[in-house]
């Protein structure tokens, strides 16, 4: 049920408006001055506020300013005394949603209240969807952060694994060098010794192939030299 707050120091105006609005199906709360209005505003989120311009103390414009400064988004309908364009204009300037002039005509009043309540509905829905968007955004950000962390961990694991393998390759390649240089040393001496043609041919083939291995080892060392 849409809730309307009526702020007027004139009891008869309050009663007439309240009765008409209740008949239309609204819930109504009334306040006779600024203090009571503040109390009511603190308690409930109204769908429309009907506010008399002429009030003792801070006056209707003062209460309007209070409402705007308190970030209450309920549309405020001002009641202006005599059809006074200047007061109406001033109210709108201060953020009033609309105004109704005395004497209050029922249809005009109900029409303005209905539009104000619809406006408040739009504002509420917009706020709700903004809130949902923000929640969704936060949820997404959380998920992105989580996934980024997972990716980072995976990347670090891969990096460590890669570096471990490169180190192993490099160490193994180094371990090849001693035996290779020993084999080549012996082979060179053997080939230079007294051999049959057949023996020399075979040893030269062994030597060629050992040198191929030696080149592979050198290439591996070169490739892995900057990877550690």
């Amino acid at each position: 049920m849409d809730e309307i707050l009526i702020v007027d120091d004139d009891l008869s105006v309050r009663e007439v408006l309240e009765a008409r609005l209740i008949k239309e199906g609204y819930a109504v709360d009334t306040a006779e001055d600024f203090d009571h209005a503040k109390e009511a505003l603190a308690e409930r989120n109204f769908d429309a506020i009907i506010l008399d311009v002429v009030l003792p103390g801070v006056g209707g414009i003062g209460i309007l300013e209070y409402i705007k400064n308190a970030d209450i988004e309920t549309p405020v309908i001002m009641i202006t005394g005599d059809p006074n364009v200047e007061t109406a204009a001033r109210s709108v300037q201060h953020g009033a949603y609309d105004y109704i002039s005395k004497p209050i005509r029922k249809e005009r009043m109900l029409g303005v209240v209905q539009r104000a309540v619809e406006k408040k509905g739009l504002i509420d829905r917009k706020k709700e969807s903004e809130k949902k968007n923000l929640e969704y955004q936060k949820e997404l950000e959380g998920k992105v952060e989580e996934r980024t962390g997972e990716l980072k961990n995976a990347y670090e694991l891969l990096g460590a694994e890669y570096s471990r393998k490169v180190k192993f390759m490099r160490k193994t390649s180094h371990e090849f060098i001693n035996p290779l240089s020993i084999i080549i040393g012996h082979l060179t001496l053997l080939i230079e010794s007294d051999l049959s043609d057949e023996q020399r041919r075979r040893l030269e083939s062994v030597s060629e192939n050992v040198k191929r291995i030696e080149h592979l080892v050198q290439d591996t060392l070169e490739v892995t030299s900057n990877e550690e």
């Binding site: 060098i177 001693n178 290779l180 240089s181 020993i182 040393g185 012996h186 060179t188 030696e214």
Partner: protein, 128 residues
């Protein structure tokens, strides 16, 4: 009569010691002495130096049991700061080269160079 050059070769691989000895001895002015680890090398250097056969060059392996090449290099240089120590290694990692040079080695020779080339280089150092 031409003078004899003494060369001290230090390596824990018997085959490397044998092959380097053979290739170096192809030059009849070179007499090769071998040591299987750093500790023996330090002792041998003392003995050779006191017998008037001070090695003109030492070929030093790095990774050996008992005492490695870096420590042996330091110890020999403590005894004779003019000792010409060349590190011969399969491990040409920048850190190891830096350690060897910091210990006072003249240079680092890659074992892959081949024995004939290493012998040639040794002769160059001895006659310079």
């Amino acid at each position: 009569m031409k003078m004899t050059y003494h060369v001290l070769v230090v390596d824990d691989e018997p085959d490397i010691l044998e092959l380097l000895s053979i290739y170096l001895s192809m030059n009849d002015r070179i007499e090769v002495h071998t040591a299987e680890n750093g500790e023996i090398a330090v002792e041998m250097y003392h003995d050779l130096a006191t017998n008037g056969s001070r090695p003109g060059i030492i070929l030093m392996d790095l990774m050996m049991p008992v005492m490695g090449g870096i420590e042996a290099t330091r110890k020999i240089l403590e005894y004779d700061s003019d000792a010409k120590i060349y590190v011969v290694t399969a491990y040409t990692e920048p850190d190891l080269i830096r350690d060897a040079m910091d210990a006072g080695a003249k240079d680092v020779i890659n074992k892959m160079a081949g024995f004939p080339e290493i012998s040639e280089m040794v002769m160059g150092v001895l006659t310079s």
